[in-house]
């Protein structure tokens, strides 16, 4: 059985069932596009882009188009735990009116503390009502780690003084799918760094359902929106890697697609920030770049409407989409080459010409870590 045909059929059936659900928004996507001066052609370009981003063949762009129009059938509930709001901010800063943000407007955003108008008792009512009304159908996004020490007392939410732990478990119970947005929700993040005084954990460690982890501090809005789109289209999780990150976004190392890769291969390195090599855009490995150990699409997607990304700004990657990176990737401005990572020995830090040979071996070993736990058919 051709897996793509099967997946396409699944998507078609899924969208048919969504089409039978009541509309939530008065305006169709076409109306919104007109309002922002976007043409059908822009839209088709975008659907093709999303298809390729999700590593799907071109015919799937029809499904993307249909899913975009049906997005308002899927309620989204967004919870904040132990976090800094950076992931919400990343999403809010998505490209100037493009379809990604329109889709986000189209999705029925039932609860999001940073953006919603209601407050206090009434806000909590909105949450409880949404959990009840859309039981089994809502998409749950969680930003931030869950403090578990002291029975979760390091975080309470709402008038009823529920702990973050209780809130997450309650919301997870009725969710159609759960997405951990950012490294904190995925793996615990900064508050879980040693000695982890609040017992902070990733969401998947406190609920008994599969959770999609969108690593990154913050993840790009593309990775968030792409994940939502996939769920709307197929009603199931995309292919995930060993850390439950979507393969289409986290399938390659930063190092593999870095525009400074040629300098690495040629042995041309920045020796010190601000030196002549830095002005020429040489490889940042020697000033601590963690690109060889980090899986994310930053080099191709970049941030803020493709404005830049850390390596373009002359600073090495810090490995922010990886579990425990605060402990395992520190010191951020020194080459790694002295630790075991993901169970693989990374030895890659001497000087001069040796660096290349050793680094290449150490880094090459990491390609093995790309073996994914699940295939496209789960």
């Amino acid at each position: 059985m051709d897996t793509h045909s099967a997946l396409y059929e699944l998507g078609r059936r899924r969208l048919q069932s969504l089409r039978n659900l009541p509309k939530r928004h008065p305006h169709s996507l076409a109306d919104k596009m007109a309002e922002f001066g976007l043409s059908r052609r822009d839209f088709l370009k975008w659907t093709a882009g999303v298809s390729s981003m999700l590593a799907l063949p071109l015919p799937f762009s029809n499904l993307v188009a249909e899913a975009a129009e049906l997005a308002d059938r899927v309620p989204l509930i967004w919870l904040h735990m132990a976090e800094c709001t950076g992931c919400s901010e990343s999403l809010v800063r998505a490209d100037t009116p493009n379809l990604d943000s329109l889709i986000f407007d189209q999705i029925s955003l039932e609860y999001h503390e940073t953006l919603m108008a209601a407050a206090g008792w009434q806000a909590e009512e909105n949450l409880d009502q949404a959990l009840e009304t859309y039981k089994g159908n809502y998409l749950l996004a969680i930003e931030g780690a869950v403090p578990t020490a002291n029975n979760g007392a390091f975080l309470t939410l709402g008038c009823k003084g529920r702990t973050g732990l209780e809130s997450v478990r309650k919301a997870a119970a009725g969710a159609a799918a759960i997405v951990s947005v950012g490294t904190c929700a995925s793996f615990g993040g900064v508050q879980a760094a040693y000695p982890n005084p609040t017992g902070a954990k990733g969401v998947h460690q406190v609920v008994d359902k599969t959770v999609i982890n969108l690593g990154g501090c913050p993840p790009s809005e593309k990775n968030i929106v792409g994940t939502l789109m996939y769920f709307i289209m197929f009603g199931k999780l995309p292919a995930l890697d060993i850390y439950n990150r979507p393969k289409w976004a986290y399938g390659a190392r930063v190092h593999d697609n870095c525009d400074r890769r040629g300098h690495f291969d040629a042995g041309e390195f920045v020796e010190q920030f601000g030196d002549n090599n830095a002005k020429q855009g040489f490889c940042l490995y020697k000033v601590g770049c963690k690109g060889p150990y980090t899986y994310n699409n930053c080099p191709t997607e970049r941030f803020n409407h493709h404005t830049s990304w850390p390596i373009q700004a002359g600073h090495g990657c810090m490995g922010c989409s990886e579990p425990n990176f605060w402990d395992e990737m520190a010191d951020f401005e020194r080459p790694l080459g002295r630790q075991t990572l993901h169970g693989l020995d990374a030895t890659a830090d001497t000087i001069g010409s040796v660096i290349l040979g050793a680094a290449a071996v150490g880094i090459g070993a990491h390609a093995v870590a790309s073996i994914f736990a699940r295939g496209i058919e789960e």
């Binding site: 990343s90 919603m116 209601a118 407050a119 913050p218 373009q312 700004a313 520190a330 401005e333």
Partner: protein, 567 residues
């Protein structure tokens, strides 16, 4: 019989904030408690790590004022190590800060604070043609306020309401009597709310140009900045300037216009003419315009005496945890501050919503501590910064403040209100946007003869170091304090703006700005406390930041000399 009102979550802020108030039979607030309900322990996590990583870690305290902690931590470590960074690095850091303010304040006014002033439902009954004429009153060239623009916005919202599905606008306090805009004014502001969503993305791109990304830029290092290629690229510099022009234009033609409109509409609304019961203000120097020249000044105002502005002496800062969820330490030096949590939970009692767990006002009730200056609570933020600079006779600030007062016909006393606090933030944004171009020009001039961006820091593992930095973050004065031993962080503490503003009562029974700003406020309906939300939002709460603060009490910093922005 007093009634207890519980407000949790306070939405449209950064983080987790709980406010409780007690109202009398006339629904006038008699008592108020402010509580942060999350502790993350980042200062504990910093110990034993490389001081060169302090900036990247502390940046994760907050994703809204992202960059403030990054810069402050980097400069605290530079101060400790005695690293002198090149002028280009100082100027580029300032340009990033200009970008941050233009983004952060704009988002705060429109997307976090706006719906406290703007009744979305009322905008439905507006006449778009009349509204377009109304907009001309507040700006000669309004943005997104032509009849067609306004009609489109109205149709959009009308469709929303017709389905009965308000999504993020559901279940708010629409129709509350303290909303004062006419339907036409609500429609104008609503149109700007939507337009600002676009503009703020451009502002975020400004920071990303030199920062790599926003939130959480990644181009500062101890010793300078790394985005040397962007700095040396004329195209990149021009890109920044173009985006700056777009955002500055919106600030002048929409943000300023809406504040003037609000001053007019709300000029007689009692619930926004209080809110500054405490008249102590604290601010530091920031925004390097050229070598050694700052846009805003440091100083202390006590009891509203703007004629007696005093110099800021950090040795007079003290800290109290009587009502915070930490075990009270003995008197401690800032470099020896500890953070030991001691959670005591809630107390069950009757409220306007029935029985609920509530704050224990007699005991401990917040993860935020209570910083004090000479034993007094202080307000920090845009209002404090402007008042201190005004008191110092800072020409740019005096002109801006007097200009706004003249334009709105309000007396100087109007600054000491919730409305004034909100207006001050706009003025600060405008000053930063306009004057920030001087920094840009200073950078261009310096680049002609100097391309340096980095001075390598030296850390001797056998030596001990200590240092600090003080800056103005968007929400007020921020300081970081670090001790380094054996090449590692021995101790780290941050004193954060929202801590000053949101802290609980101290051992003397003195309350901080949030709590005092609510006393005497009359609520139209205690079960729908819009008035409280509006006052608290005027401070722009940032709770993730506020739970990071040092522990110390009235200690003498001894030989430790402080220069603001010491680099």
């Amino acid at each position: 019989m007093n009634k207890r009102v519980v407000i949790d979550p306070i939405t449209r802020i950064e983080g987790h904030l709980r406010i409780e108030v007690e109202v009398d039979e006339n629904n006038v607030i008699q008592k108020a408690w402010s509580s942060s309900t999350l502790w993350r322990g980042i200062e504990v996590i910093l110990k034993g790590r490389s001081p060169l990583d302090a900036g990247l870690i502390t940046q994760r305290i907050c994703g809204v004022c992202t960059y403030s902690h990054y810069r402050c931590a980097t400069e605290a470590v530079e101060n400790a190590l005695g690293t002198k960074i090149p002028l280009n690095a100082k100027l580029l850091r300032t340009l990033m800060q200009v970008s941050l303010y233009m983004h952060d304040h704009l988002v705060h006014f429109y997307h976090l604070h706006g719906l406290d002033w703007v009744d979305v439902v009322s905008a439905l009954s507006a006449d778009p043609a009349k509204a377009a004429r109304e907009a001309m009153k507040y700006s000669p060239h309004p943005i997104a306020a032509g009849e067609g623009d306004l009609k489109a916005v109205q149709d959009k919202v009308a469709g929303f309401v017709a389905t009965g599905k308000l999504g993020p606008f559901a279940n708010a306090y629409w129709g509350n009597g303290t909303y004062k805009f006419s339907p036409e004014q609500n429609l104008i502001a609503l149109s700007h709310y939507l337009k600002a969503l676009e503009v703020q993305r451009v502002a975020a791109e400004m920071l990303a140009i030199f920062g790599g990304k926003q939130p959480h830029p990644q181009s500062l290092v101890v010793g300078g900045v790394t985005s040397v290629r962007d700095m040396l690229s004329p195209a990149r510099l021009q890109e920044w300037k173009q985006k700056h022009a777009i955002v500055a234009d919106f600030i002048d033609r929409a943000y300023q216009a809406d504040i003037i409109m609000a001053a007019e509409a709300y000029g007689a609304e009692p619930s926004v003419l209080g809110g500054v019961a405490l008249t102590n203000f604290l601010a530091t120097d920031d925004f390097l315009l050229a070598d050694g020249e700052y846009l805003f000044n440091a100083g202390v105002i006590l009891n509203g005496d703007i004629n007696g502005v005093q110099d800021l002496d950090p040795s007079l800062i003290a800290e109290d945890v009587t009502h915070a969820w930490y075990s009270a330490p003995a008197s401690q030096h800032p470099f020896d501050g500890t953070t030991v949590p001691q959670y005591t939970g809630f107390v069950e009692r009757d409220t306007v919503y029935g029985k609920l767990p509530t704050l224990d006002g007699d005991g401990k009730y917040s993860w935020v501590k209570s910083p004090r200056y000479q034993g007094e609570p202080m307000e920090v933020g845009p209002l404090a910064s402007l008042l201190v600079s005004y008191a110092r006779g800072n020409t740019a600030v005096v002109e801006a403040v007097n200009g706004l007062l003249a334009r709105t016909g309000l007396p100087i006393g109007a600054l000491f209100t919730t409305l004034g606090r909100t207006a001050a933030r706009m003025l600060q944004t405008q000053l930063v946007a306009h004057e920030g171009l001087r920094t840009f020009d200073a950078l261009l001039t310096n680049l002609v003869s100097d391309e340096s961006t980095y001075a390598k820091p030296e850390i001797d593992p056998d030596k001990e170091y200590r240092g600090h930095a003080m800056i103005e973050a968007p929400r007020g004065m921020l300081s970081h304090w670090v001790r380094i031993k054996g090449g590692k962080i021995e101790n780290y503490q941050a004193v954060v703006p929202t801590t000053w503003n949101a802290g609980p009562m101290d051992s003397q029974g003195k309350q901080g700005p949030y709590e005092t700003s609510l006393i005497g406020l009359k609520l139209e309906d205690p079960t729908k406390p819009l008035e409280v939300i509006r006052v608290i939002h005027s401070f722009d709460p940032c709770m993730a930041c506020s739970v990071h603060v040092m522990d110390f009490k009235g200690t003498d910093l001894g030989e430790f000399r402080v220069a603001a922005n010491a680099i």
